[in-house]
Symmetry: C2
Amino acid sequence: MSTAEETSGGEMEPWDEVTPDAARRLLVAAVEAFAERGYHATTTRDIASRAGMSPAALYIHYKTKEELLHRISRIGHDKALDILRTAARREGSPAERLADAVGSFVRWHAGRRTTARVVQYELDALGPDARAEILGLRRQVDAEVRGIIQDGVASGEFDVLDVHGTTLAVLSLCIDVARWFNIDGPRTPDEVGALYADLVLRMVGAK
Amino acid sequence: MSTAEETSGGEMEPWDEVTPDAARRLLVAAVEAFAERGYHATTTRDIASRAGMSPAALYIHYKTKEELLHRISRIGHDKALDILRTAARREGSPAERLADAVGSFVRWHAGRRTTARVVQYELDALGPDARAEILGLRRQVDAEVRGIIQDGVASGEFDVLDVHGTTLAVLSLCIDVARWFNIDGPRTPDEVGALYADLVLRMVGAK
DNA sequence: ACGCACGCTAAGCGCCCGCTCACCTTGGGC
DNA sequence: GCCCAAGGTGAGCGGGCGCTTAGCGTGCGT
């Protein structure tokens, strides 16, 4: 439960794929603004001025304010899914894989809290189509974690009565980190990741 | 871990204390609107029309839209705290008290999901003074749960390394129910409460 | 050397927001 | 029967919203 070889706390900004530079600056500004004040309370003027540009500049790179949220949400969910897949598909016992998955997932939610907040809590601000796309990614996230837990149950390593419910609870626990985690607080993302990995192993009754 | 004698799922509307009748109808309308679309995305016209009144009627009973949120948040936190205190101070072993606390707290977050959503997720929309008042209530919520866990550790019934961190995780798990719970979904509030009480007893290593 | 595509800005349009105000009903006390 | 407080309405205010448009500067291909 202690090894932390995976990325995730990795402090590199994952927005490198967004080009050109001005579009990326606007997107990063939007992440900060949405995380601080919420999507609906954020104005396009606020986003533009954080990026050092005029309000109209936003519309050169994005059709609407909602497209910004959609792009952020899409990239964030891709990253979260990638983190879980990497942990789920490494070699090792179900307990090791689950601890790795929870540890890296929590480190991401804590270390990249602004992004995670937008990704996890602003889903309802998306229109129906974008929302449906993101919900598809969430089902894949759920499937990865459920897969690990099922493996542990099948091998007799875990003791779980309600696999779906426990999966939901594990993900719920990780996701809520984005709500309460404070970078100035007493815990580092690594510490929270380690604590949560331990707690989750207890939840599944790992031997 | 199975007994569920406590209230909390109790379906009586807790808004009886709000008078006169028109003020209560406006407040209930605001809870629904805030829960569905968020505080900032909700208009005063929407609240008033849900209550069957004109937009101006709102300002007879409340000074501002924010006062509505403040009242909702205050009453909701009082209720949540009351639920936890009742469970924490009953007689019984730490494990029984913790299971009761988690069970009733979760049943409230699931059964009264609209209120819980507003209470737990719209805190940042309050001004500094109201925010500080509510944060004080949250510290009392934390203290109640921490107290039970500390009792269990002291009596040797629980095995917990990080009491503060585990308390945070337990509350976090319960609170996030308000985000994902769907009244039309496969689980009843009672079922989720029972599942979560079991999971939390595992988290604290209850004998 | 020059044109023009591209990235950006200043200005502003139409709309809807939170909130106010002048006025209208209604029901109980005398 | 009359009055007035309490509770309601319709109209509308000042302002800020998301977004558009006309035009400007600059760098690159030729």
